[in-house]
């Protein structure tokens, strides 16, 4: 009867999508095994009211000025205090920039098991966590040999809770910070000027590669992305060429994404690119070389000139329904 705690990361007063994906998956699991799902909210309690609807049985919140700006040490202490007080068997943390920053630190403090970037969650007497390793070339099933585990969860690995959910009682907890001052903290966050859909959160991604031939042609990708309500991504080749900033790069040295739909345009499908996107649910490849390795990873492919196919696809999608 495992109890699973879920850290609810917020941004601008709203919970991140991955937080509710985690409460949903945790709920599906405990509905089979017994146990409860506990949402843990630090600082701004705005998300607390929603947690029940997303599958949580109970919500725990800690307030205080210490949570006004993020730092790994404060988050580590507060969540360690929560784990010590409530003793969940598993604590889930989204594998976001923030989650990846503090989750290992928290595990070290708790001397807990720590598993990164999980895409599968199961329990039979003990937790079994599934995760890609070697850049997705292999999957590992990880068993936990400790009283508590901290697990990172890849965004978009799990669907939201469909079971309705009820209001969940909210209770405060003492984060045990009394006068604690961290050694380092975030003093500023800089977001890119244009309000674009973030790659790691997008449900659809349209990415372009060297097949686009020159920087100006990246607008084909941006146009199709806008039509599809998608984020625009890139291969390393065109990032290194300076056509788009590194923040667009998908792959081993870029971002790991798992959207519902990934459209790879003029991208050969090098192993380091596949590393970042091969867990996408549906992959479309548009490449004029029918032997390009990207077709081995794709679900749908068109072997033709992207300069003809992409504008036509844009039009075809606009013409749907």
């Amino acid at each position: 009867m495992p109890n699973i705690a879920v850290y609810i990361e917020q941004s601008g007063g709203a919970a991140k999508k991955v937080a509710w994906q985690m409460t949903a998956e945790a709920r599906r699991l405990v509905d089979r095994t017994g146990g409860e799902v506990w949402a843990v909210v630090l600082g701004d309690a705005a998300a607390a009211a929603e947690a029940g609807r997303h599958g949580a049985h109970r919500v725990f919140t800690a307030a205080g000025d210490a949570f006004a700006r993020y730092d790994a040490e404060t988050w580590t202490r507060a969540l360690a205090a929560f784990v010590a007080a409530r003793r969940p068997d598993l604590l889930l943390v989204g594998a976001t920039a923030t989650g990846k920053d503090f989750a290992p630190r928290l595990a070290a403090r708790l001397d807990a098991a720590c598993v990164s970037d999980c895409v599968g969650l199961d329990f039979d007497g003990g937790f079994k966590l599934r995760r890609p390793i070697f850049a997705g070339k292999c999957y590992a099933e990880v068993a936990v040999d400790a009283p508590v585990a901290v697990a990172g969860v890849r965004p978009n690995a799990f669907p939201l809770f469909a079971g309705g959910g009820a209001d969940a009682p909210v209770e405060g907890f003492d984060p045990g910070l009394g006068g604690f001052a961290p050694h380092a903290s975030v003093v500023e966050t800089v977001t890119s000027a244009e309000k674009k859909i973030e790659l790691t959160e997008a449900e659809i991604i349209v990415s372009g590669g060297r097949g686009l031939k020159e920087a100006g042609n990246y607008k084909l990708i941006e146009t199709l992305a806008a039509t599809m309500g998608a984020a625009a991504g890139a291969s390393r080749a065109i990032v290194d060429a300076g056509w788009v900033p590194h923040s667009h790069q998908v792959g081993q040295t870029g971002k790991t994404v798992s959207p519902k739909l990934y459209v790879a345009v003029g991208i050969s499908g090098a192993i380091q690119h596949l590393a970042g996107m091969s867990s996408s649910k549906c992959i479309v490849a548009i490449n004029k070389d029918p032997n390009a390795p990207i077709f081995k990873a794709a679900d749908y492919g068109i072997a033709a000139d992207l300069f003809e196919v992409v504008p036509a696809l844009d039009e075809a999608i606009r013409a749907l329904d």
């Binding site: 790994a72 070339k137 050694h183 975030v186 977001t191």
Partner: protein, 260 residues
Amino acid sequence: MKIAVCVKQVPDSETRITLAAPGPELDRSGFTRVLNPYDAFAVEEAVRIKERLGADCEITAVTIGPDRAVETLKKDCLAVGCDRAIRVNEPALENAEPLQTAKVLAAVLRRGGYDLILTGKQAIDDDSAQVGPMLAELLDCSQATVVTKLELGQGVFTATCEIEGGAAIVRGSLPAVITCQKGLNEPRLPSLPNIMKAGMKPQETLTCADLGLEIPAARTRITTYSPPPPRAACRMVAADDPAAAARELARLLRDEAKVI
């Protein structure tokens, strides 16, 4: 300033993993090993800091690994400007999980009194991205992860960290653990004469017993390695007429895959 760079030897990114069926073992016999590419950014950053600060700076490269890891220390660390190397040789830690690694590295680092500890943002074999933040906790110091720019002042640092849709600027006091990401710098390559000379730099090999440490227990266990979930063969949409192909693709994505 005393700088430590924690590095790992890993299978290169082209390594093929062949797994016919799921099982508890992975065949690692054919792996070609290299310095973890993210660690190269850490080594380079340390060397650039030393080049700025001059003689007042010493860089120690630290790794946990078997005899073959000596090559990585020599060629990729000492030959490009690190001053000394420490290797922990413990067969029981081959394929250790990150917390075991962090505990042993922390024991090494505690002996040195380092101001700055640099490492890659993650190793490309287990892809865990855990050792850096774990080290910071075990050493009770500052951290900044996935760093693309690092500035040092008197006892303080300012780091630019990659986050969703932008960057976070983290400021803190030294000592600090910094995990390095592409963009921080362009790692240099070692020259042959420097590789020859690297052999003369001090190198220490330790065991956990030398560190007064019991081999830390693992908290997790990989029970099964399996191939990636199978994907159905790619469905090629006939493309002699690109406009028709595009319409067919749009229809498939809506009606069959149900993703738009």
